[in-house]
């Protein structure tokens, strides 16, 4: 047996925008085990639900993470709405769907940029993030905020989009779709990118299920599970099929995320064409009493929101099982047998969100 050594990775590392630590057990340069540590910036946000009014807590749920902000607000609101028997207006459901899909585009473009940066492909990184700016501008136009825009409330949404805004979104995604094509071509056809990603971190379908993988990580193994098919918000009125790939490697994970950007453009177009007129929220009276597990498909995968209410304005428990929490065990599994030099890319290909994990 080769001599074993332990290399600490993180919590500060050039490819990690957020702190996470791994103790990598190596034999020569081959990883035989990875031991994680998290919690460096744990904020205890779930605990705040015990001392904050359940309506005010929406603002805290949205601040769990910048990239997944809208989805966290929506997931929390939908859980409380289910307990209270509140049905948001159809227009609110469509608006939520549009913002959710814009958030998915935002998240995947951010990830593509980080991946390019980790590979040293700086121009591709800049192109990906340049394109991402356009979706942030659309958030700004429709909500007044670029990252955390606080438009969810229990019973619907706080802001509406007029026809001019919907037209601007439609025009912007048409432009973005054209501009995405050469960027996608570089990720999917470039020789060097292919060499770095193909065959790296292969996850087999049965292994993915056993390890608890979710989102693009799961779908890249050929498993067509996408929580949007549960039909929350307006997804039950839109036509789409989960994007899958079959190889289960880092390239497949990249491919799924790129195709999901195109899918989000199509879903936004459908939602804009079908959005009904009407109110954007309903009044909510009283306090929730009961419990519910809500599932939604965040850009990084399935997230689970648990709310337990006791009939007062303070909830007993709010629990958020983030996609990254679920994707850490498969990531650790993938590292066994990989080379030390591939560790940064493998961490990136699960699209980790430490901010969500440190909720």
């Amino acid at each position: 047996m080769a001599k074993r050594s332990i290399v600490p990775f993180g919590p500060q590392h050039p490819v990690l925008p957020e702190p996470v630590h791994l103790d990598l057990v190596l034999e020569d340069e081959t990883v035989v085990e990875a031991v994680p540590s998290i919690g460096f910036v744990h904020r205890g946000l779930e605990k705040l639900v015990e001392i904050k009014d359940f309506k005010e807590y929406v603002y805290i749920a949205e601040r769990v993470c910048g990239i997944c902000s809208f989805g966290h607000g929506m997931g929390y609101c939908q859980s409380v709405e289910h307990i209270m028997g509140v049905e948001p207006p159809r227009r609110a459901n469509y608006l939520r769907t549009i913002w959710m899909e814009m958030s998915r585009v935002h998240s995947h473009l951010l990830w593509l940029g980080l991946l390019a940066d980790a590979m040293g492909f700086e121009s591709l990184f800049m192109e990906s993030w340049r394109l991402r700016e356009k979706i942030l501008d659309m958030f700004d136009l429709t909500t007044g905020g670029r990252v955390i825009f606080s438009v969810n409330c229990i019973g619907g949404v706080l802001k509406d989009m007029d026809s001019g805004m919907l037209k601007a979104i439609s025009d912007t995604i048409d432009e973005m779709e054209k501009e995405l094509r050469p960027i996608a071509e570089a990720f999917l056809r470039d020789y060097t990118v292919g060499v770095r990603l193909r065959g790296l971190g292969v996850l087999k379908p049965e292994q993915a299920i056993l390890a608890g993988a979710v989102g693009p990580m799961l779908r890249s193994c050929g498993i067509a599970y996408d929580a949007r098919k549960l039909g929350y918000a307006a997804y039950n009125e839109l036509e789409f099929e989960p994007v899958t790939a079959s190889d289960g490697d880092s390239y497949a994970r990249c491919e799924v995320r790129i195709q999901e950007i195109y899918q989000s453009f199509a879903l936004i177009r459908q939602a804009i064409s079908k959005i009904p007129e009407g109110p954007i929220r309903v009044p909510v009276k009283g306090n929730p009493n009961g419990e519910y597990f809500m599932r939604i498909e965040q850009p990084r995968g399935e997230a689970i929101y648990y709310v337990k209410a006791n009939g007062t304005k303070f909830l007993d428990r709010f629990r958020l099982r983030t996609p990254t929490t679920s994707n850490i065990p498969p990531m650790l599994e993938l590292m066994k047998g990989c080379q030390l030099a591939d560790v940064p890319l493998l961490i990136l290909t699960i699209d980790p969100c430490i901010s969500c994990t440190e909720r």
Partner: protein, 115 residues
């Protein structure tokens, strides 16, 4: 279409046999959640198959040990360590037990006390 989303209270004796049955029937583990009750913990284990989700609800005393399910679902270790480190739930026979070193936090079991 409405999918299954149930919470089923169970006893400690039923717990492991039911988890094993879920595994044999092809359900995947999706989450483990702890909730503080006066001198007790409420543990929820959710499993999904397709779009159906079933949650097993176990209520345990404050110092009562709970068997780990990592022998059946190896991926449970991350959420079992979380429940042990944030709430102080005593999980027994856990594979990959990090002994309160997964979360690098300043306080022990910060979610144990209410409020």
């Amino acid at each position: 279409m409405e999918y299954l989303n149930t919470i089923e209270p169970i006893t400690m004796e039923q717990f492991l046999p039911m988890v094993i049955q879920f595994k044999m029937d092809g359900w995947r583990l999706v989450q483990i959640c702890a909730c503080r009750l006066p001198e007790q913990y409420e543990l929820s284990y959710s499993f999904a198959k397709g779009f159906d989700m079933r949650t097993l609800r176990l209520t345990v005393g404050e110092d009562e040990p709970v068997s780990s399910i990592t022998q059946v679902y190896p991926c449970a270790f991350i959420q079992e360590n979380e429940v042990a480190e944030l709430f102080g739930v005593k999980i027994e026979s856990m594979e990959n037990d990090y002994h309160h070193k997964l979360y690098r936090i300043a306080r022990d079991t910060p979610f144990k006390e209410k409020g």
